[in-house]
């Protein structure tokens, strides 16, 4: 066993063991970390720390650490190919946010979001922004702007194969803008690692869908959760 000199050991490991010590250095290190965006404190992963908005499905809320969609973070929803995605799953929360504050932005939706149905489900149509950028780079710029602008309460976007760097960038923008970022991606991307706080896979079924929680920051993954249209309980 290699024995390091005691003072050196203390110096090099000081930032990591800072919270365990009882002297004044503890406070210094903690604030030092608090200002760094590239390091997330384990404390923030504890249940009940993040801000969230109820999903509108009680069974799903129970499984999520903060009791709903995380705000100020990105949520990935993996959808089967050639299917536009289960917008109904996001709608209760998005509708509630749209009534309370800023825009609900939809960037490059695959089809027309149908206004009469959205209205029936309680959306404030005045808050909807449909954005159809032509180029992919424009789309990414728009998404980042929308997530970080603090004027959008939720940003829903449909992307094919964004790389990890891009997603990380969008995740940081969502933190900045404190909004609900929902990224709809093809289910074939399930193998790729992600920086998003939450990753769900949707498999449509009769009268609803089966949801797999693949990544759940601060919580546990879960398989085959059945959600029905009729479960939608408006908060």
């Amino acid at each position: 066993m290699i024995a390091y000199p005691a003072h050196k050991d203390e110096e090099t490991t000081a930032p990591l063991t800072g919270s365990l010590k009882k002297n004044g250095a503890e406070h210094v290190h903690r604030t030092h970390f608090a200002h760094r965006r590239d390091i997330s404190l384990a404390k923030s992963l504890l249940p009940g720390c993040g801000r969230s908005i109820p999903t509108g499905f009680r069974t799903l809320d129970d499984l999520l650490p903060d009791g709903g969609w995380p705000l100020g973070a990105l949520t990935e929803i993996l959808i089967p190919d050639h299917e536009p995605g289960s917008l109904w799953l996001a709608l209760p929360a998005v509708a509630r946010l749209s009534r309370e504050r800023g825009w609900m932005a939809m960037v490059s939706p695959p089809h027309i979001p149908y206004a009469p149905a959205l209205k029936n489900l309680g959306m404030d149509l005045n808050k909807i922004l449909l954005i159809h950028p032509r180029a992919r780079t424009d789309a990414l710029w728009t998404i980042e702007e929308a997530l970080g602008s603090k004027t959008c309460s939720s940003v829903l976007f449909w992307l094919h194969g964004p790389d990890n760097k891009t997603l990380r960038r969008l995740q940081l923008a969502a933190e900045r803008g404190d909004c609900l970022g929902l990224c709809f991606r093809p289910a074939t991307n399930a193998g790729q690692c992600t920086t998003a706080a939450l990753r769900l896979r949707i498999r449509p079924g009769a009268d609803g869908a089966a949801v797999d929680i693949l990544k759940n920051r601060g919580g546990r993954p879960h398989k085959n959760l059945k959600l029905n249209f009729s479960d939608i309980g408006y908060a």
Binding site: R101, P113, Y114, A115, I131, R134, A146, T151
Partner: protein, 526 residues
């Protein structure tokens, strides 16, 4: 009380703030109204204005002055009666012993190299209006007079500028930046101020009672330009204004008529003298030349910022905002690229307008370097008051911020990229929705039919097997159907039976059977 030492030579003994009359005993309970602000007119006389106006000859665009070389012998003439007389001369002409008021022929003999220009009243007026515009910082009451003078009422602005001395200092600073020669005077009546200024008689007269003594020494021909009246007065042995003030009013009325006496009353403040005030036009137009031709967005952005700061100053004078800007980028071949920027919420601050221009620059591709940038806008509108939320936590962003986000996206990607959504009062599903301006969707009470969340832009034809529709396998149709038959009024007649169906993968979809063609289509997805 410090005296206004605005000439740097003369110390005036008049107190700057008039003393309030003593209140009568027993009247202390009465509310004392603030005294009416005493008028103080500042007159500016620009002796070289005719020269500048005539040499420029209106060829250049307002805002970019070419300096006139005054060391050359130059003169401006005007036809008075039958002779041409000099109105304004350069310092170069003055050294050649030429004076204003000379006949052109006489001046020609003294200096054969003298260049003559006809007087250009129109251009003089343009320059004078521009000067009046720049004086709006000092007072909202600016009057443009003939004979190259401006009258500005500064009595109401003294408190804002912390006293006369400071105001004059700033005014001089502003005018020296414009590179104009001027003489300046202050008096309680506009006519008196103008008279002092045009007689090059720098005075600061702050009390109406001082007018007679202060104006006394001014020679009569500065005051009276009418030849006949001047002759009459000089025959009476009157050389300056003091002599004139001594004459009895009735006599003057009899000999020189009512207009003359009225004017004298206005000069001395015995009769009100309403001024025709200058009102600026609600438009902005300016050009910024680049030091070097460039197609770099950063350099163009900087030049744009200069224009936007000028726009902001112009807008704050009008107390307005803009909702539309037209930018023109000129290249060396005089080709113009037009960039229109529309704003959802009117804005006036350069900080807000600047990012929009920058984003717009990013979105375009320049084929050749830009030589100058032009900004024009006529779309002024009143500023809306900024709303502050009572409960800021509940609504984190107000409407203005939201619109600014839309403007940002639009200025980069074009205005059609971003749209709002609204329902329409229509039975045909493809027409029951419309795009609209974001945040301005129509509120419609629509019946709560069961409708899919996604609508396909074009209904997709479904294959059939044994007369039943299929989509990657057989579809399970719901028992209920909805018949929509309408549209005969605009020749887009439809007759369809809509069904909810479930695919083999479990996705709920919305399909219809066209009753004319007898074909199945996919129209929506839940």
């Amino acid at each position: 009380m410090p005296d206004a030492d605005f000439t740097g030579q003369r110390h005036l003994s008049q107190p700057a703030i008039p003393e309030l009359p003593n209140a009568p005993p027993g009247a202390s309970a009465r509310i004392v109204k603030p005294g009416k602000i005493r008028e103080l007119w500042l007159a500016l006389y620009f002796p070289l204005l005719p020269l500048r106006a005539a040499v420029d000859n209106g060829a250049n665009i307002p805002g970019c002055d070419r300096p006139v070389d005054l060391s050359k012998p130059l003169a401006v003439f005007e036809k008075t009666g039958k002779t041409h007389r000099l109105i304004s001369i350069s310092s170069g002409a003055e050294t050649a012993n030429i004076r204003t008021g000379m006949k052109t022929s006489e001046a020609w003999i003294r200096e054969p190299r003298l260049k003559f220009f006809p007087r250009d009243h129109r251009n003089e007026r343009v320059i004078l209006n521009r000067l009046a515009h720049s004086l709006f910082d000092f007072s909202p009451r600016v009057a443009v007079h003939d004979d190259c003078t401006l009258a500005v009422e500064v009595g109401g602005s003294l408190r804002l500028y912390h006293g006369l001395e400071n105001l004059l200092q700033q005014l001089r600073k502003k005018l020296s930046a414009l590179d104009t020669d001027f003489s300046l005077s202050l008096a309680p009546t506009p006519l008196a101020a103008i008279l002092c200024a045009s007689a090059n008689h720098d005075r600061c007269i702050r009390h109406i009672g001082q007018l007679r003594s202060e104006l006394g020494e001014i020679p009569l021909h500065y005051y009276e330009t009418d030849k006949k009246n001047l002759r009459t007065l000089s025959r009476m042995g009157i050389r300056n204004l003091r002599d004139l003030f001594r004459l009895p009013r009735e006599g003057l009325l009899k000999r020189l008529g009512k207009p003359f006496v009225d004017r004298l009353d206005r000069l001395l403040g015995e009769r009100p003298d309403p001024q025709r005030l200058y009102t600026p036009q609600a438009k902005f137009h300016a050009i910024q030349d680049l030091d070097q031709e460039s197609s770099e967005a950063r350099i163009l952005g900087q030049a744009g910022r200069c224009l936007l700061i000028r726009l902001e100053a112009c807008l704050s004078r009008h107390d307005s905002a803009v909702w539309k800007m037209a930018w023109r980028l000129h290249n060396a071949k005089n080709e113009v690229l037009l960039l229109d920027i529309n704003l959802g919420v009117p804005a006036w601050r350069a900080d807000i307008l600047q990012p929009l221009f920058d984003l717009r620059l990013e979105s375009i591709r320049l084929h050749s370097p830009v030589r100058k940038i032009e900004l024009e806008t006529r779309f002024f509108c009143p500023r809306s008051a900024h709303h502050i939320e009572l409960f800021p936590a509940l609504s984190s962003s107000d409407n203005t911020d939201r619109q600014q986000f839309v403007d940002r996206v639009r200025s980069k990607l074009g205005s059609h990229v971003i749209q709002g959504l609204q329902p329409a009062d229509e039975h045909r599903p493809e027409k029951a929705w419309q795009t609209c301006e974001p945040g301005h969707s129509r509120i419609l009470a629509i019946k709560g039919f069961d409708r899919p969340l996604w609508l396909l832009e074009q209904p997709r034809l479904l294959a059939t097997r044994n007369g039943r529709p299929t989509l990657d396998g057989p579809l399970k149709l719901h028992s209920e159907r909805e018949r929509i038959c309408c549209g005969w009024w605009d020749r887009n007649r439809i007759a369809r039976d809509y069904w909810n169906a479930i695919t083999t993968s479990g996705q709920k979809i919305w399909i219809f059977k066209d009753l004319h063609e007898v074909k199945w289509y996919l129209h929506g997805i839940y």
